[in-house]
């Protein structure tokens, strides 16, 4: 096994891992604020990519305008979803929540299929596609964009959750919703915020990865599931643990696909998911939580 090969796989794994991390953080934010696993999270990723495509092609917007527009629209979809599906739920049992978010994800996917068809589409990379050499491996400029933007988002998250009132309020909800409500935090608003942030993050993730992997109406399914894996590895944290989880997952997947077999690439993530759920459901870094076991 050549070192260069391993380096190559690791580097590309890091960038996919960053995407998984972003999606995973999206899952964690909603979960921590509401206790819901939003199965539709992957669809925001899909919407990010496809909406950017339309903004570029139909609206003829330049890239720097197309991105905010598509993030905004994805966020609106997230809000609609929360308002229509989550909030009015009469019996929020786990089964019902699982079913409704699955239903929502299927619906969004189906509507996307209506609008954009079943083909895969390409989005131009942000700053060209001249390969850059690092050690004996090559990466594309888009990889750097992914890592940079992910870093920015993580820093922003840290700032938001730890240094702003609304961010701290959301964390309060995560620890104890009842207590948060009692001290005057509008829990329902926090739930809404959590969907807004997660939808936006998901959309950004979809946009930055689309130039590399193309986008289509059904990319959300696998990306969403793998993002969930990252969140589980990180113990459902919305911070550094999930980032590590995502990066780890991306690298392991990439190495596995490259060194063992590419057909089983997707299976690798799910085997890791099962192992974590069986052996350490609180994540690699979390404390034991009796609710999950």
């Amino acid at each position: 096994m050549e070192f260069n090969q391993i380096l190559q796989y690791t580097l590309s794994g890091l960038s996919t891992g960053a995407i998984y991390a972003l999606i995973g953080i999206g899952f964690s934010i909603i979960y921590n604020a509401t206790g819901i696993i939003n199965f539709a999270q992957g669809e925001f990723v899909m919407l990010g990519g496809l909406l950017t495509l339309s903004s570029l092609q139909l609206l003829k917007l330049p890239l720097w305008a197309a991105i905010p527009v598509s993030v905004a629209i994805s966020t609106v979809v997230g809000v609609i979803f929360e308002r229509l599906a989550i909030r009015p739920l009469r019996q929020p049992t786990p089964i019902n929540l699982v079913i409704i978010t699955i239903g929502g994800s299927i619906l969004i996917r189906g509507l996307a299929m209506l609008v954009w068809g079943k083909d895969t589409h390409a989005i131009p990379p942000f700053s060209g596609d001249t390969p850059i050499a690092i050690g004996g491996a090559t990466i594309l400029p888009q990889h750097l964009w992914i890592l940079a933007i992910t870093l920015v988002i993580i820093v922003f998250n840290k700032f938001y959750f730890y240094h702003t009132i609304s961010g701290k309020a959301m964390r309060a909800c995560a620890y104890n919703r009842r207590a948060a409500g009692l001290v005057g935090i509008d829990v329902k608003r926090m739930v809404l915020f959590s969907f807004i942030i997660s939808a936006a993050m998901g959309a950004v993730a979809g946009i930055i990865v689309a130039p590399l992997t193309m986008t289509a109406y059904d990319v959300g399914v696998m990306l969403g599931l793998k993002g969930f894996c990252a969140a589980i590895i990180g113990g459902m944290s919305s911070g550094i643990s999930t980032v590590i989880g995502g990066l780890l997952l991306g690298v392991l997947e990439s190495l596995g696909a490259g060194l063992i077999s590419s057909g089983y690439k997707d299976a690798i993530s799910f085997i890791i998911l099962l192992l974590i759920l069986f052996i350490r459901p609180q994540g690699l870094f979390g404390k034991a939580d009796s609710e999950r076991v």
């Binding site: 929540l97 299927i106 619906l107």
Partner: protein, 319 residues
């Protein structure tokens, strides 16, 4: 229970008479699938509706039964009636082994774990090309034969499949109204209270999970011999969701509800041929609408709606 048995007898008569009513034709073919889907929906309902455990990977057990039977009867020339129980036992053992760790999880985590499982199984079907034929599928699976009669026509398959489906329904009805069925429902309503009364929730959940998997496997074997051709596409995540939709729409915890859900979701695409691509939107919308407005499923929602519109009637309304 008496009411259930009465309903079941009436239902059996209906099933037996249907071919006469519909005089063969294309509908027969669809009704064969309604039978298979009903079997699968009932199996999932035992786990989801009665025991309250979410599984999003049931298509995997269905597929395992189909492929095991398919491979045994083609590559290894094992007789179909021998292959089917062997497949069921293998699937049962797998389910039992996986069930112990998986069923320790609750709610969303269980849903995700079963989802992951189903996808892993699907990937294995696709990748083990030498065994399964990969994405192009496995063909040449023999039809089933009993005493010289080969089940190779829609009408014959209809009777074969529905024999098994009715047996599974009766089996499940018996179970639901029995000591074990009550223990299951108790675990669903309050696991801690059930344990305090001596119910070993852990073992019970694994038992139901295994039973559910075995029934799905048998449905898979039957499917393989009826279709004579199978491919991984029928056993993926989308079908697991379809099954979930059938159970939810029909009514969790209702055996007849599972038939309703299966019938609806199998027949609907046939009548909506024109909107075939849109079926995924319809499933999504149906799931959401049902959970929001009729969480008890059609089996409870329709009588309730009737009562609302036409005023109160006596009766407890529970199937």
């Amino acid at each position: 229970m008496k009411k259930d048995l009465l309903l079941f007898s009436a239902f059996t008569l209906l099933v037996a008479a249907a071919p006469q009513l519909f005089k063969g034709g294309y509908l027969m073919n669809v009704l064969v699938f309604v039978g298979i889907n009903t079997m699968l929906a009932v199996a999932l309902n035992l786990l989801l509706g009665y025991a309250g455990q979410i599984s999003l990977g049931h298509a995997g057990f269905f597929g395992l039964g189909a492929y095991l039977s398919g491979i045994m009867t083609t590559t290894y020339s094992i007789g179909p009636w021998l292959a089917m129980p062997i497949a069921a036992i293998v699937v049962g053992i797998i389910a039992c082994l996986i069930g112990f760790p998986v069923l320790k999880l609750k709610g969303h985590y269980l849903a995700m774990a079963t989802l992951g499982l189903g996808i892993i199984i699907f990937i294995v079907f696709n990748e083990t090309v030498d065994l399964t034929g990969g994405p192009s599928g496995l063909s040449g699976i023999p039809n089933l034969k009993i005493a010289g009669v080969t089940f190779d026509s829609d009408v014959k398959n209809y009777y074969l499949i529905w024999f098994f489906t009715l047996a599974v329904m009766l089996f499940s009805l018996n179970l639901a109204n029995s000591r074990v069925g009550r223990a299951l429902r108790a675990v669903h309503d309050s696991e801690i209270a059930a344990q305090v009364l001596g119910v070993n929730a852990r073992i019970l959940k694994v038992q139901v999970f295994t039973l559910s998997a075995i029934i799905s496997s048998i449905a898979g074997s039957l499917y393989a011999h009826t279709m004579t051709f199978i491919s991984p596409a029928s056993f993926g995540f989308n079908f697991s969701i379809e099954l979930l939709t059938m159970v939810v729409i029909g009514g969790l915890g209702s055996i007849f509800g599972s038939f309703l859900g299966a019938a609806l979701l199998t027949l609907l695409p046939e009548f909506l041929r024109a909107v075939n691509d849109y079926d995924i939107i319809i499933y999504g919308a149906l799931l959401m609408v049902m959970v929001m407005f009729m969480p008890g499923g059609l089996v409870r929602g329709i009588p309730a709606l009737y009562r609302k519109i036409f005023g109160q009637r006596k009766g407890t309304g529970n199937a």
